[in-house]
Homo-oligomer: 371 residues x 2
């Protein structure tokens, strides 16, 4: 029997994903503390939102964080001080970034170099400049460096095993030829409703309104319709497949925001005027229908050609991408080993619980590596 | 920069999967030796088939194993001596069992207790008695013990990320409700051809003959049709989901070998007489067709009810299980987090390269843990 060990956890973000993660963390900590062979104690030593922070100078574990966070009047430390605080903790530290904050993403190399590991669903860190990507993996122990570990499964497809699968294909020497799929729950819902395989479907602008009402879109639906979220995910996959992608705007990305509406001053104005363009969308639908196909918003990486693109494509009604349901994601890996029938992963690609699951799963991996 | 380290690899089996694995191992060894931060040297110190073995008393790496194995006249060591040989290697050892041998499977606890890690696609170890299962994980470092690590991704669905995904669902605290799918490439091919979603399809006995000719069945197709291969995979998944399953014959498994043909003395006699039963199979097909459904051979685990079963079921033509193509596997995880739309993994579930990929992927995991 090994001696018990303690690992310190710092969490930034307590919104939708953050709350779900903290609940999964409590479950995991309970299980790990009971391990018969090698108990591990997880101590939550830092929790912050954009406004407030909870921590103790003596690294005592936080408890009752929900009520304490509400009543806290402590502002978060600036990032360099946070790094100093964490690096002096009496044991290994894992930083869990449950935000989508660019500034925190840019500080990953700093934390990693100090031996602090990072798990996160924050796409920004891995889909911004290729320089940031290189700095992160040059610092990380699972890159070319000797610092902390970094895992980001939930940055693509939430808890679906997309990144781990792609990494394994590459590491075991398969030749990835093409990656294709629906990478946005919002886009999945919009097009599965706008043009169901069995016919029917409403006007595009009406589906956007429904999606917003159901909470499937960002507060301003233009943040989904501009395609940037999907472009960020494709940037990550293309880089893992070995392509050098300068940024998520360095390849063709089709925006579903009509040119004429780009100047709208608010999401509400945009939504009010979107019906003017339903005719164009109906035409796309009718054109696809004539070929026995449906329209879907997809992203793809053609590895041998070095091409990445995001936008509308037509698919046969029997194609797995056409048959997707609800707001599910689907990701197909075409490789030398898998031949004509790709390896496919499918399921919910958004939502607090499943996103947090990818983060917690990554934390488990880091804990195993830190043993 | 860390000092370089050496890990010793012992491989049993040089058949279809074994040969593919050895080729992937060469690729991996090349990559790891070039790692800029922490080079790892993999040394192949043992390779054996059921008849022959290659190894050096001084643990020198094997080279030109293909020609040397052919000309070798050395018989394999008995298992206890092999364990002694490996445990004295001057570094960590990973045993790769690419056989489906029961005796080797039963020796895993012995190797694990001695600190030797195991990666394998051998289903027998994890789907035989629940006692063997317990002994393996009581000895393993990733069970309750402190010995070697054990990974067996390819024991279900070959290289598809089935076992790793199920483990992550459980470890992160999701509630797995049902696991359902097509777990046999042979059964997938047989029923996708016998009753395609769009109509048509041949006589069942003719499809069995075609499958045998294409190399999709075991040399004796009864070894596929009796359902035991699928029952073994379901045993593994049910155990990982937390059910206690005594053995792969302790739950209902439907055999597609007609009672009257159970006494056939050879596979050839069986194949010659199988057409007598085409009428029964056509009836099943017609009954399903009347409901707008198709027949498929599936396995399922109902976790809350503690039920495991394997056999024929009817599926709506729009169901992902009905729409499967070729000899692909499909595995659907229904969980609390994923709700009505399951997490689905789909693709080739048999074949040397993809099975070896699961093994090589497991080896990568063990190497990371052994750091």
């Amino acid at each position: 029997m090994s001696p018990p060990r303690q690992v310190f956890i710092a969490v930034i973000g307590a919104g939708g994903v953050g709350k779900c993660f903290l609940s999964q963390l409590a479950h995991l900590a309970q299980n790990l503390s009971c391990s018969p062979s090698a108990p591990t104690y997880l101590s939550l030593i830092w929790l912050s939102t954009s406004q407030k922070a909870l921590y103790h100078a003596d690294y005592k574990s936080l408890s009752n964080w929900e009520s304490e966070l509400q009543s806290s009047t402590t502002a978060p430390l600036p990032i360099p001080q946070l790094a100093e605080y964490l690096v002096k903790a009496p044991g290994k530290v894992v930083l869990v970034d449950n935000t989508s904050n660019q500034e925190i993403a840019e500080s990953y190399p700093l934390f990693l170099k100090k031996g602090i590991s990072i798990v996160t669903p924050n796409k920004k860190a891995f889909s911004s400049s290729s320089q940031l990507w290189q700095e992160i993996f040059a610092a990380a122990a699972n890159g070319t460096g000797v610092g902390g570990y970094v895992f980001h499964e939930s940055s693509v497809g939430a808890g679906l095993p997309v990144i781990s699968t792609l990494k394994e294909l590459v590491e075991t020497g398969d030749e990835v030829r093409k990656i294709e799929g629906v990478f946005s729950g919002t886009m999945s819902f919009l097009f599965n409703s706008f043009q169901p395989v069995n016919g029917g479907g409403g006007k595009f602008s009406a589906e956007v309104k429904t999606a917003k009402e159901k909470g499937y879109t960002e507060p301003d639906p233009r943040d989904d319709l501009n395609g940037l979220d999907v472009a960020r995910k494709l940037t990550i996959l293309a880089r893992l497949a070995g392509l050098k992608v300068e940024s998520p705007t360095s390849f063709p990305v089709q925006s579903l925001i009509p040119k004429e509406l780009e100047s709208c001053s608010s999401g509400d104005e945009f939504l009010a005027r979107l019906p003017e363009f339903d005719g164009q969308m109906d035409q796309l639908k009718a054109d696809a229908e004539k070929e026995g196909k449906v329209v879907r918003f997809v992203g793809s990486v053609d590895v041998p050609k070095g091409e990445v693109k995001v936008g509308l494509e037509k698919f046969d009604k029997s194609h797995p991408i056409a048959a997707l349901k609800g707001s599910d994601n689907i990701i197909a890996f075409y490789t030398k080993r898998y031949g004509d029938n790709p390896l496919i992963i499918q399921g919910a690609g958004a939502g607090g619980e499943v996103t947090a699951m990818g983060v917690t799963g990554d934390l488990v991996k880091v804990l195993q590596l830190l043993h």
